[in-house]
């Protein structure tokens, strides 16, 4: 009985902590500006099914991709077993479905065990890849202590959960052999049974310990995930759904600018009339200086980023030793919005802490190193768009602060004066034609 109560309390505590954290993350994401991503629903569903559910982009790197699919499928399907564990925990029963499901139960357990073993192996391989093999993307500058530990904690944690799951089954197998009752095959865990001896009492104790370790571990994991880069296991779905559907090359035409330019180009407009701010539009700034100038989708991107570094490993700037790393752009955005979220005033509005995403997190040097090649966007397995943030930061630098590398200013002046980025006279534009005569 006491076990059931403890179990119930843990379950509720886990759910509450998880729920509160979800609320916080939602609130933080909604600090971003609005952007319409509700159109073209069928395409969005297709995108989500292909990329998140179907892991379409993961297999672009076959080794990591296939191992990841093993963990992903294992994670999703073994959760079905959680149903039984929760019912057992609350009702004080043991393997409640084994009786009613009969042969099918045997099949399910066998299936879960094979998946569990697969997950365990994949996690171990991933740990080796991360820590022993020198794969460049796992060791870039932004992979400081915490991001590295976060990744390792998750992999070790998942391995332990699978180990506990298999051990608990192994004990049941041993007990089944000794007592002669039951006929579950336990195709994987039976090989572990030898480790736990043949004393029924000890086996029971170990089984209970593993059972508790597993379930407490799962609850703890669910809460931990919400603080970690591992959030992608949930957010990959909305993030791919709401992803940009336009060609990568199309950058948005800023509405606020459109109005002013139209006014300037309109010969009938009163040149002294200040453009009236449109209904409901905040005065706002051009481009982005801080996370609150970004859209909710860009903030959702930041929370979804799993820090895999595929973007940075494809980035031409990063490959050639520049400071820019698109993964860092996403990590900085997330760190910043977390902090802004923590410091909200009583009115729920961000307070000025004298810091900003641009400058205190992301430097101008990084912003200017981007070639806007979209390699990062293409590489991201969960359709994150680091480039859009880089462009918004540039827009702020140019349009609010008139700050750019000197040669860029020269290029702007040339376009303005000669209609070409170089200092050639517009009159010479068709000089080349003479060379054909």
């Amino acid at each position: 009985m006491i076990g059931q109560v403890i179990f119930g309390v843990l379950l509720i505590a886990g759910a509450v902590l998880f729920g509160l954290r979800v609320k916080t993350i939602r609130r933080n994401i909604l600090l971003g500006k609005d952007i319409d991503r509700k159109d073209r629903a069928p395409e969005r569903w297709r995108n989500m099914i292909r990329t998140a559910l179907g892991q379409g982009k993961m297999v672009n790197r076959p080794v990591a991709g296939i191992l990841h699919i093993v963990i992903y499928v294992g994670f999703v399907l073994i959760n079905i077993e959680m149903l039984e564990i929760v019912v057992d925990g609350l009702a004080g029963t043991h393997r409640i479905f084994s009786g009613s499901l009969g042969g099918f139960y045997n099949f399910l357990i066998a299936f879960f065990e094979i998946l569990g073993a697969g997950v365990l192996i994949a996690c171990v391989v991933f740990l080796i890849r991360r820590n022993v093999l020198r794969i460049r993307r796992f060791h870039l500058a932004e992979m400081t202590n915490w991001p590295k530990s976060d990744a390792n904690i998750i992999l070790v944690w998942e391995s332990l959960l699978m180990f506990a799951f298999l051990s608990m089954n192994a004990c049941d197998f041993a007990i089944q052999q000794i007592s002669g009752e039951g006929s579950i095959s336990f195709p994987v865990s039976k090989y572990l049974a030898g480790m736990y001896g043949d004393d029924v009492h000890t086996l029971h104790l170990i089984e209970r310990f593993m059972w508790w370790f597993h379930i407490v571990g799962v609850i703890g994991f669910a809460v931990y995930v919400t603080y970690s880069k591992h959030l992608h296991i949930f957010l990959a779905f909305p993030n791919t759904y709401y992803a940009n559907l336009e060609p990568y090359g199309r950058f948005n035409n800023m509405e606020a600018v459109k109005k002013e330019v139209q006014l300037m180009m309109d010969p009938n407009a009163d040149p002294f009339a200040a453009p009236a701010p449109a209904e409901g539009e905040q005065p706002g700034r051009f481009g982005a200086r801080d996370v609150t100038d970004l859209t909710w989708k860009q903030l959702l991107d930041a929370y979804t980023c799993t820090e895999c570094g595929r973007c940075s490993s494809e980035c031409p700037a990063n490959q050639t030793g520049k400071k820019l790393s698109p993964r860092k752009i996403m990590m900085d955005t997330r760190d910043r919005v977390e902090l802004v979220g923590k410091q909200l005033g009583k009115d729920g509005q961000p307070v000025d802490d004298g810091k900003a995403l641009l400058g205190d997190y992301i430097t101008e040097e990084e912003v200017w190193a981007c070639t806007s090649c979209n390699a990062c966007v293409e590489a991201c397995p969960v359709n994150i768009d680091p480039l859009s943030i880089i462009v918004d930061l540039r827009r702020y630098l140019i349009m609010e602060e008139s700050k750019s590398p000197e040669s860029i200013t020269v290029m702007f002046n040339n376009i303005e004066n000669n209609g070409a980025p170089w200092a050639f006279s517009a009159m010479d534009r068709d000089k080349w034609k003479e060379e054909l005569l």
Partner: protein, 266 residues
């Protein structure tokens, strides 16, 4: 060698004759002013002329699309340029545009419509593919490139940005050369380093230049020719080849130049 002199008509001239061009050739700033890129412009004009395409240019009425301004964050300047160009294009009732610059292509195709300028925009490799498919462009030259190894460098703004991967390759196929792909190609292609207004500034501090990294990948295929479809890529790859001191063995040429050469048009 066909040494014809070509009068390149402007749209204004054509319209004053009561005609409308089949397609407007958007030359672009590089194509107009840059010495190297002008060769690409001329090669394309020769092909258009050779195939009897009714084309025209805007001449002095063309102005920068605003692409480098936009990528560098200057949305005002971009939209000013766009509005100005759209006024000209709409006044001439332009329906179809071809350009040899993927940056102009992307901007005209994707960013102008929302500002009031909707046209059918094609990259010159797409037009070349069309001309080939319709039988308007055939190979008369006979095997200039037979047995040569050609590797094509995907321009970011043609490839990833607009998913045009096949047209340039189809256009190269008629050269009867051996097409070899780089380790990183099509959607995984590596940038030449010029995009996003990088062409107009010094690179940030790093351990090497992007164009050198990309040229290295091209050299891995042991090519005779590196084919490009963008004036900026062309510059970057040319510099990259020089960096490796291979300029006497390896040519960097635009697809239009290769096709013109194969047809003895140059």
């Amino acid at each position: 060698m066909e040494k014809t002199s070509i009068q390149v008509p402007t749209v204004a001239e054509m319209i004053s004759r009561g005609e409308q061009p089949e397609v407007l050739f958007w030359v672009g700033c590089a194509g107009s002013f840059d010495d190297r890129a002008r060769k690409i412009t001329k090669a394309l004009v020769k092909i258009l002329h050779h195939c009897g395409v009714k084309y025209a240019v805007l001449g002095a009425e063309e102005s920068c699309t605003g692409d480098p301004a936009k990528r560098a964050g200057n949305e005002f300047l971009f939209q000013m340029q766009a509005m100005q160009n759209i006024q000209v294009l709409n006044a001439y009732e332009i329906k179809k545009i071809v350009t040899a610059c993927p940056h102009c292509f992307n901007t005209l195709k994707n960013e102008y419509p929302e500002l009031g300028g909707a046209y059918e925009v094609v990259h010159h490799t797409q037009l070349l593919q069309d001309l080939i498919d319709n039988g308007r462009l055939t190979m008369s030259g006979g095997g200039t490139f037979k047995g040569k190894r050609i590797t094509f460098h995907d321009p970011c703004y043609l490839g990833r940005a607009n998913e045009v991967y096949e047209a340039p390759r189809k256009a190269l196929e008629i050269l009867d050369a051996e097409l070899v792909e780089m380790r990183k190609c099509k959607k995984n292609g590596l940038c030449c380093g010029a995009g996003g207004a990088q062409m107009f500034k010094e690179a940030e501090k790093g351990d090497r230049e992007v164009n050198v990294a990309r040229t290295e990948q091209a050299l891995e295929t042991a090519p005779n020719i590196i084919a490009t479809g963008c004036p900026f890529c062309n510059t970057m790859m040319t510099d990259g080849v020089k960096h490796f001191e291979k300029e006497h063995e390896i040519e960097v040429k635009d697809i239009a130049e290769l096709i013109a050469e194969a047809n003895d048009l140059l």
